[in-house]
């Protein structure tokens, strides 16, 4: 791994002041460190944000659950408050990687990285999340821009993610048997007016499947999406699953999620 300067920031202000075009924020480091070791990324400065107290913790209000960006997956999966308010979010966190990854990896890091197969981005889309940064609030629908690409500007730091508590919800994934990343993951959330069907792993970026959302908003039953033939032209195809298989998996996982709601 190439050399860099390590900084530990005390607050968001210091973190963004240290940021430059050749720096990265370091939270759990579960992607940043392996990427740097493999030479896929190089930075002059790594700015550790884990010690910023304000960035960790979980708050539940009547309508929403707000999770600090540096909160670890294990804290989300063990939180009684999250389990009570949005059980599907807690079980999503419990299914990320392995225990050692969950002991280090953070929700903010996962979202900022926006891996096409990551779990958390689907929760943000399904649960109409608002991403709070040190500069502004961004709706999840406008946050995830493309493969590993977000609306974040250089030096902009995610501080918290605010999830809307749904009436019912479930996240179902077909994990890669080795990495536990989602080959396809579907997060179904039924809100008062509408239903979101957020899909991860299938395309280059997480998305809300409009066709299934519409069908389920009309009739919230797995029968309303049974046998749906989704367009697979933009779906990923690799050694683990072809595009057509992924399209079929999206419907299967969505049905499982609706039945589990």
């Amino acid at each position: 791994m190439k050399d860099f300067n390590y900084h530990s920031a005390k607050d968001s202000k210091e973190a963004s002041k240290l940021a430059s075009s050749s720096s990265a924020f370091l939270a759990g480091g579960m992607t940043t460190i392996p990427s740097m070791k493999l030479g896929l990324a190089t930075y002059k400065d790594l700015i550790d944000i884990k010690n910023i107290k304000k960035l960790s913790g979980i708050k539940v209000s009547g309508k929403s659950v707000t999770i600090g960006a540096a909160t670890k997956h294990v804290e989300v999966s063990n939180s009684k408050d999250v389990k009570k308010a949005i059980p599907s979010l807690s079980s999503l966190a419990e299914g990320i990687g392995d225990p050692q990854v969950r002991n280090r990896g953070t929700i903010g890091g996962s979202i900022a990285n926006n891996d096409p197969s990551a779990d958390y981005p689907s929760a943000c889309i399904a649960l109409n999340a608002t991403i709070h940064t040190n500069e502004r609030k961004i709706e999840a629908a406008k946050f995830f821009k493309g493969m590993f690409e977000t609306a974040l500007k250089k030096g902009e730091l995610i501080e918290a993610i605010e999830f809307q508590i749904p009436e019912k919800s479930s996240y179902q994934k077909h994990p890669n048997p080795a990495s536990r990343y989602a080959i396809v993951g579907v997060y179904v959330a039924k809100h008062k007016g509408d239903v979101n069907v957020a899909v991860t792993g299938a395309k280059s970026c997480v998305y809300n499947d409009k066709e299934m959302s519409k069908a389920l908003s009309g009739n919230f039953s797995s029968s309303s999406i049974d046998g749906m033939d989704l367009d697979s032209s933009e779906m990923n195809s690799d050694m683990h699953a072809s595009a057509d298989f992924r399209a079929s998996l999206v419907v299967t996982q969505a049905k499982k999620a609706v039945d589990a709601c």
Partner: protein, 153 residues
Amino acid sequence: MGKISLEVNGRKVEKEAPDNTLLSTFLREHLQLTGTHIGCDTSQCGACVVHVDGNSLKSCTALAADINGSKVTTIEGLETNGKMHPMQEAFKKLHGLQCGFCTPGMVMSAVDLLQKNKKPSDTEIRDWLEGNICRCTGYQNIVAAVKEAATKM
């Protein structure tokens, strides 16, 4: 370059190390604690698992600088007065290892499991060991060893 201060296996250590030093490198090359193994070096195999402030992590995927000030336990820190830890005894008794390369990580991970769940089921043990890969045993004896250790800890 920065000063790394840690408590490793109950002993306070302080050493200068470049900022890009991984915890695994710090343990093996700066402290000569070579019981922590490097397998894949891509955070998948778990041979490098150690405990930091009571929780298991993969030391090949953490910076020494990043855990400055923490308490670290490695496989060398499990024994008491030359007596093996119950988890090590159980791995030995039930043949939970063959070549032994993955064993330090397996043991450290399994000890963390029993700290959090005193009586895990087979499924819970297998789920927990998700991040530890063994290419010899087929896992059966590892699971048996963890269950045995659970009765002794």
